[in-house]
């Protein structure tokens, strides 16, 4: 009888054809993340994404701060999408503390959330452009983003991390004349992003580089648990703004963009289409919003949770479903706080998509997953 070593102890047979490449961290093509790629010539044999590099322990830190002081640091994982990443937390705290939100505040939240989605998507699009070597598509979104950042600055007083959503509404009311400025800026912004199609999405080289690369079938997209634009690019019509409307989304006319191809091109196009839909939603919200009224229900200092209970709230962020699970034990701090983020759920698909692809496709497939490295590693 031959003795066989347990699986972990046996030496792996070394294939000399295969080279291991540490793409990142501190790599122009992976951001803060490390992707361990094994290549055979120009083909990727295996890929192991390693998001644990910018670890901040956000979830653990949240257990040591009360419900209000958690706000400015919980938005850190995605500073470009800070309204959306606070959204489920604020909704959850409102339920735990038991507090109602004024009608006008709900509309302000929707406007801020959609503006932030555009700000995030523009940043994402800029990086997608430079990943494909298209420097014009890097500079244009980075410049046009300023329009919306100026709007958010008017609204919240801060340019990047707004800390605007608070339990019971939003921190401040809109400045005077904001509606007109917002409408004008958003109309111009929409006109501007339509120009991107000519230089980027209709570019023959871009199409030939992203079509039929990293194809994620409808079944695989569901099986791997992807979300957001990745899921919708594979033909699944799933958007939390429609399926589980929060705040006033059920009063607005929301459409989602679905594409069937499931390749990098579809995944890169869906967020761009979403930005136009966001502009639509902002216009509707500006029209339907009550012109006056309170935007914040006053809270006692250091609000406490009502007894032992837990709540799970989720919203549709720029990267997909973003959930927040809060357990309360009746104290002023959350007993536990966990976040389920779109980036991590989409990253799971990366090794499946990259296997067998060429090394040149790595950046285009990787970034088409609408991934934000810091968010995956909270």
């Amino acid at each position: 009888m031959t003795t066989e070593l347990p699986p972990g102890l046996a030496l792996q047979k070394v294939d000399e054809r295969i080279m291991t490449l540490n793409v990142g961290p501190q790599h122009p093509g992976s951001g803060h993340m490390r992707i361990i790629v094994q290549i055979d010539g120009d083909y990727i044999v295996a890929c192991d994404p390693d998001p644990g590099y910018v670890h901040r322990g956000e979830e653990k830190m949240a257990e040591y701060r009360n419900y209000i002081t958690n706000i400015p640091h919980l938005e850190r994982p995605v500073i470009h999408d800070s309204c959306n990443i606070l959204y489920p937390y604020v909704l959850g705290v409102e339920e735990i503390v038991g507090i109602e939100v004024p009608e006008r505040a709900k509309y302000v939240r929707v406007i801020a959330s959609e503006l932030n989605r555009c700000i995030y998507t523009m940043y994402w699009l800029a990086i997608y452009g430079i990943f494909l070597g298209h420097s014009t598509m890097f500079m244009w979104p980075a410049g046009d983003r300023e329009l919306l950042i100026d709007l958010m600055e008017k609204m919240t007083g801060a340019r990047v991390t707004h800390a605007h959503f608070v339990p019971g509404g939003v921190r401040n009311d809109l400045p005077p004349n904001f509606e007109d400025v917002c409408l004008r800026q958003v109309n111009y912004f929409e006109k501007r992003i339509k120009e991107y199609a000519a230089v980027f999405y209709d570019n023959p080289i871009l199409i030939s580089r992203t079509r039929d690369t990293g194809v994620l079938s409808r079944q695989d997209a569901i099986r791997l648990g992807t979300t957001g634009s990745v899921l919708r690019a594979s033909g699944v019509d799933y958007d939390l703004r429609l399926k589980e409307p929060y705040d006033v989304y059920d009063e607005l006319d929301v459409h989602t963009n679905v594409m069937k191809e499931g390749d990098s091109y579809a995944r890169s196009r869906v967020p761009w289409l979403d930005m136009m839909e966001s502009c639509n939603i902002i216009r509707q919200a500006l029209q339907k919003m009550p012109k006056s009224g309170s935007v914040r229900t006053k809270l006692k200092p250091n609000p406490k949770g009502k007894g032992l209970n837990s709540v799970y709230k989720r919203v549709e962020s720029g990267r997909g479903s973003l959930g927040c699970y809060i357990v309360s034990d009746g104290k002023t701090e959350p007993y536990r706080l966990k976040m389920s983020v779109g980036s991590f759920r989409n990253l799971i698909a990366l090794p499946y998509l990259l296997k067998g692809e060429k090394l040149g496709n790595m950046p285009s497939v990787y970034w088409s997953l609408n991934y934000w490295p810091v968010e995956a590693d909270r």
Binding site: M19, L21, V23, H27, P28, G29, D42, G129, I130, F131, L132, G133, H134, S135, T136, M137, F138, M139, W140, G143, E146, V199, N203, I205, L206, S208, R209, K358, L359, G360, N361, M362, P363
Partner: protein, 432 residues
Amino acid sequence: MSVIAPKFKLSEFIKSLLDNAFWILLLLVLVGIPAISILLFAIEMPVINGELLTPFLALTWIADPSRTLPIIKAFMATDIFRVMAFPGFGFAALLAAGTIFVERKMLAKLQLRVGPFYCGKVEGILQLMGDGLKLISKEIIIPAKADKPIFWAAPVMFVGAAAAFVALIPVAPGWVVADVDLGLLGVFAVIGFFPIITILSAWSANSKFPFIGGIRALFQMVSFEIPLILSLLGVVILTGTLNLSEIAASQSSFPWIVFLPVGAVVFFITMLAELERIPFDLPEAESEIVAGWLTELSGMMYGLVQLGTYLKLYAFAALFVVLFLGGWNGPMVVPPFPAEIITDGIVMGPITAKIPGLPVFTQEMLNGTLWFVLKTVGVIFFILLPRGVFPRIRIDMLLSLGWTKLIGLAFVNIFIALGLLYAGVLGPGGLQ
């Protein structure tokens, strides 16, 4: 922060001009005069026409054109002038610097970039100096296990090969650094050096990213050299010579692009690939392989490679002008110079010494240079333009483009040239 450039105001423009003039004058006074005095007094002065050139004599000569002009012309007739200043390294480096500046400005305009608009008071002129200072001030880091002599030598060899390429290009009738009979063959030979230098640099760095980038560069350069050389054969067939000056001279009535548009297109595309310009900048695809074979080069070593790249860009653009756009040929636009300025019988230096009485420069040379520079700048503009429009393509797409499409088109071009020759439309040396 606003990304929109401010409106042009004449008063502010004049003010900025005066402002800059003041600083330049101050700089000249503070730096220029001491430097000139050191030069004049510290260096042993040459003897010209039997007189020792003392500083004071030099000052009187500067005031007297009848004395300075012969010296200038004598200097212009020497090989040193040809190699160092015009049409050699100095001219090419100046054009290369101009190319970098124009590229920055053009892309800034296209992409709403801020730096090249505002850096420095006159239209971002200080951006170039900023780039240069940054490169000079960076530390040169060499990987521990690199093959150091080769690693050091590769950037220098790159600039050397690019300069050799520049030396073969004739700028005007009689104005070329190396007038070789087999000039086009020399061009092929010089182009053949670049893949070797690239792979040497990549291999000696002993790092994975330069290795992959170097192999890619090798693939790209080798597979695009074949259509490049094939696309030039049409011109060789029609002119019956490999001498670049004769090829340029043969296009006095028609540039060859009129008869060989296919060859010109193939040459232009392969030129982009040889220059590693977008959309063919695969060897330094920064999102996958950091900077390709340049990854481990830092500081001024990287700067040297960049200089070599832009020298190469000028040389390729100039070669395109010589082969397809008629070289220096063009209508006479330079106002006629007085005969004594052009053909004063000063004979000095090895080239003119062989043929006594040859003028240092002629009216044709001046006019030819003007046309040549204009055409070259135009070609460079078209080389720069794709950078604002296209993303990068993939290595397999690039190789299939080179091996399947461009080689086929290059053969079509050869058949067109042969057809024109046998139909009797054109003969060796030009239109029949």
